[in-house]
């Protein structure tokens, strides 16, 4: 059994080995490898077209890699296992919220889709957790971008996943909403839950993460622990790394 086909140890939440993805002639991922333990928070920075979204789509079973292997919460992500999807939550700039339904109805629907016990109670609970209880019975189409993003968080955690993927969640948020999102992320970052965040917002990313990676042209060029990072010079380091590897 080679390294790529071996499941990771139980304390590992996400493991990728040599992940590659091609769309025809375009190589979106060119061999991404990393490991993330339970309770860790990884922020992935990279320019547009670096393959960050493709990486998260593979890890969340939305697309399959051309080569390589990936394990999430102990399940093989390349097989698109339904059991794996019970363990993950995904937040992206697209909310996946039905505008004609209320916040409550949206949450009840997703709770049923995930097989959550007592969907109605859980729906109220999770909407309360993201601070939208006052708008529980309002149509989602009437929500501001920030409120919609909070409802998206509620949708993503309704089944209490052990791994959370966040794809550019700060897109389109004003300062207040972005600050509120950072607070929510800190709340979601528990000992048992691993998080992967892709973002262009270096300051906010570094505020919340334990590890930071720079992805350029489909590869992780570097990955450091937050303790090893010089925050003052990280932006310069990021720009230099992107320039040298583009």
């Amino acid at each position: 059994m080679d390294e790529t086909s071996q499941p990771p140890s139980p304390d590992v939440a996400v493991k990728a080995v040599g992940l590659r993805k091609s769309f025809g002639w375009l190589e979106a991922l060119r061999g991404v490898s990393f490991e993330l333990k339970k309770g860790e928070f990884l922020a992935v920075f990279g320019p547009n077209g670096a393959g960050k979204t493709t990486l998260l789509k593979i890890l969340s079973t939305l697309t399959r890699p051309t080569a390589g292997s990936a394990w999430v919460a102990g399940y093989d992500a390349t097989k698109g296992d339904a059991e794996l999807r019970k363990e993950i939550g995904v937040i992206s700039h697209a909310s996946s919220i039905y505008g004609d339904l209320t916040a409550f109805e949206n949450m009840v629907f997703y709770a049923r889709m995930y097989g959550v016990r007592d969907p109605e109670t859980r729906a109220v609970e999770v909407v309360d957790e993201v601070g939208l209880k006052a708008r529980l019975h309002d149509r989602a189409a009437t929500f501001s971008r920030g409120m919609l993003q909070r409802l998206t968080i509620a949708r993503a955690v309704i089944h209490n996943p052990s791994v959370l993927f966040l794809d550019e969640p700060y897109t389109g948020l004003d300062q207040h909403a972005a600050k509120s999102l950072t607070e929510q992320l800190a709340f979601l970052h528990t000992e048992k839950r691993a998080l992967i965040l892709t973002t262009h917002d270096i300051d906010r990313g570094l505020d919340t993460c334990d590890k930071a990676a720079i992805q350029v042209a489909g590869k992780f060029v570097r990955m450091d622990s937050i303790d090893e990072i010089d925050r003052k010079n990280f932006e310069n380091l990021y720009l230099k790394t992107v320039r040298e590897n583009s």
Binding site: I97, G99, F109, R112, M113
Partner: protein, 226 residues
Amino acid sequence: MDQYFKTVYAIVWKDFVTELKTRELFSSMFIFATLVILIFIFSINLSVVDAREVGPGILWAAFIFSGTLGLNRSFMLEKENDCLQGLMLTPADRTAIFFGKMLSNFVFLTIMEIFILPLFMVFFNIDLLPHLGPLLLVVFLGTVGFCVLGTLLSSLSAHLKNREVMLPLLLYPLLVPVVIGSVRMTGQILAGKELGDMSQWIGLILCFDIIFTGAAIMTIDHILEE
């Protein structure tokens, strides 16, 4: 298995709640079907042409064209805010998602048909009541065939840019056996024939329903994946 039916129920429930709030689907389908019948009524001289001869074709044209509106809307709902991605991220069986959408389409179309049949009766001056049982069976079989194939193809065309154009282009040629069978059977029922005389047509539509349900079960996983 229990979770499978809960998933189907969840999708039907969601589509119903949405429809109850917006009333977009039913109203557009009903108005369109009524217009199709009215256009034909004004273009045909019913004192010359036998209504029982032309009526079934017009009735099914109204059902199919207005049903296509509903199918287009069905997966459009899932594309708004990328809700389809939200569905794909759940552990729900993809065939359960398909059957949920199919069942919603079937119920919406059936409700519309129930409202259209009395209008058809009035406009064409045909008494449907003595033939109601067999007629409802034919409408049921034809509608199931339309919804199975239509839901499968609307999930396929949901990923396409010009989906409103592509859906009828893909759907209508494949739907020919159901349409011919349904029109012929409706005509024969109105002519007073027994269902037993139409076993070949019933067999044809049943085979169609079974084949495309099987095709949907086998392919929906790949179709829903981007």
